[in-house]
Amino acid sequence: MIGYYEQKHHLYDTMLKAFVAKEVKPHAADIDEREVFPHDTVKKMAALGMLGVPFKDYDGAGGDEVAYAQTVLSLSKACATTGVIVSAHTSLCSWPIHAFGSDDQKARYLPKLNRGEWLGAFALTEPSAGTDAGAQKTVAVPEGEGYRLNGTKIFITNAGVADLYVILAMTNPELKTKGISAFLVEATFEGFRVGKKEKKLGIRGSSTCELILDNVYVPKENLLGKVNQGFKIALATLDGGRIGIAAQAVGIAEGAIDEAIKYVKERQQFNRPIAHFQHTQFALAQMETQKEAAKHLTFYAARLKQEGKPYSQAAAQAKLFAAQVAMDVTTQAVQLLGGYGYTREYPLERMMRDAKITEIYEGTNEAQKMVIASHLLRGGAR
């Protein structure tokens, strides 16, 4: 991506291309079909530093936000499941600890997360608190030198395989969103349980589960940030997470276009490859242009974050647009393949199923519009 890449990013693309071709693409259909978490791939990514890409300290790989977006994009071209595992781990768990954690918390958790010895997750959503995050029912009551947590979280990416969870809970319920705090909960804490595993339309290899907090005692050293600062931490975390999901969506779209191009050059109808028909050409041109626009928005948001500039609006716009593009492009790609596209002989139906989630998680399309509109109406930075 000229304009966003430095030399190292070009070299990193060659690394990602080789890794994805050999270690990710061959397993994508299988982990989808069997709904199994790709533990081996995660181990291999960990060994190469891919679980700590944007962090320079605490054993991070010393990359940046552009490199991080590249990582999720490249993985998602072949397998959106593998993309979101990295995204949830990096954006939603390591990042808030890096941004809001105490020195002690950073020293205790970041090296393990960055080296990929531990996997991370983030838990905000509850059965009756989705976009309305202030309706949280999980509570944290002070007790002794810590807090007692009780409640249920749902739809938690990496749940069941993660070792550390950033968990949001009400410390002052009457204050609504201003009464939420963030906690670092280890999977081994007593009373912490992983509940039902969701059966999903797409990203079926990723582990999405319910979490049950049954009288979990969390020492005060594991309060992330200050008391009642949790909602602010959650919003900031999701701002960055959206760059990851935008990159995932762009990756899915790019992967679908590659598959469609391969097919239309081979598929013969009316004695010629269907690539010769202008309809096919126009469809591909439209898909590629949409995808490139989404890619620019995504890397633009990544660059803003990297340069320490406000990126909340840019990230929401990138995520909104890229998710819509992923849905459009994969739907069109399935159409180009016709009946074959609808079968599991080809990866496009999977890509179309995977694309849908990017319009939903880490804020639905509608939630992105709320974020964007609030920036516009406040008259803040564009």
Binding site: K8, L11, T14, M15, A47, L48, M50, G62, A67
Partner: protein, 258 residues
């Protein structure tokens, strides 16, 4: 252990264009990659480095664009990279190339030199052995595995067509390795991110203890008289057979040859 690895940048294509004037390869416009056998050499070097707390330096001779390849090798984890580049080196055959590489190698400490068996463009398999000769070093070619290392020697398995030999190579020495020996590792994020910040030593003719009659096209004893594309001549008739008959026929031939 100080290890030097000789690496060549080669065109990434099987369809090579040949310059009809002097019979050499046209490299312009073709994507370049690190020669596969050489990457295996780098992999073996990095493994030995990890086991012996050693140091790996890669050396290449080529145009300035070879820097990209060297940055990629930094991304794999090599410690130092050296680029030998000079217009006077252009057109060097394997003898002249070996003279240049040997002169450069003399500048660095080394216990072991590793070269790929051969490059996919020229396929000569001559440079490694010639470097060993020029430096007066013992050598083992066609190395399939390194099974044991000491400060004074290396135990290697040499692969011949029909058999494998286990040999002990006194150090300092040189080996040429086969691609089958190791799958080169992936680049890793940490080394990729710093690859372009690392120093790249660039040496020209003037930096080396060499005379002009030992380098370049004019000094090269190799003369390409003619190059041609091999034509495929069909010698056996085409037979259309049922799968059963085809299998029987193939079996007969296989049994007949062994």
């Amino acid at each position: 252990m100080n290890i030097l690895v000789l690496v060549k940048q080669v065109p990434n294509t099987t369809e090579m264009m040949i310059d009809k004037e002097n019979g050499t390869l046209i490299r312009a416009g073709v994507e370049s990659i690190a020669n596969p056998d050489d990457l295996t050499g780098v992999e073996l070097a990095l493994e030995l480095k990890e086991k012996t707390n050693g140091h790996v330096r890669v050396i290449t001779m080529g145009p300035t664009q070879a820097e990209d390849m060297l940055r990629g090798l930094y991304g794999m984890g090599v410690d130092d990279a050296v680029l030998l580049t000079d217009k006077r080196f252009a057109g060097s055959d394997t003898w002249a190339t070996s003279n240049i590489l040997s002169a450069a190698i003399k500048r660095y400490p080394y216990d072991l030199i590793i070269a790929g068996r051969q490059a996919i463009d020229g396929d000569t398999a001559q440079v490694g052995p010639q470097v060993a000769e020029a430096l007066g070093l013992p050598q083992v070619t066609y190395v399939h595995d390194v099974t044991h290392y000491e400060t004074s020697s290396l135990t290697v398995i040499k692969s011949l067509e029909e058999e494998k030999l286990t040999l002990r190579l006194p150090l300092p020495g040189l080996i040429t390795v086969l691609s089958e020996a190791r799958e080169p590792r992936y680049l890793n994020v940490k080394d990729v991110m710093t690859a372009h910040q690392k120093p790249l030593e660039t040496l020209t003719f003037d930096d080396l203890d060499l005379s002009l009659d030992a380098v370049g096209l004019k000094a090269s004893p190799t003369r390409v008289k003619r190059t041609y594309t091999k034509e495929i001549v069909q010698k056996s008739p085409v037979q259309t057979l049922s799968p059963e008959d085809a299998a029987t026929l193939i079996l007969k031939h296989v049994v007949g040859h062994h």
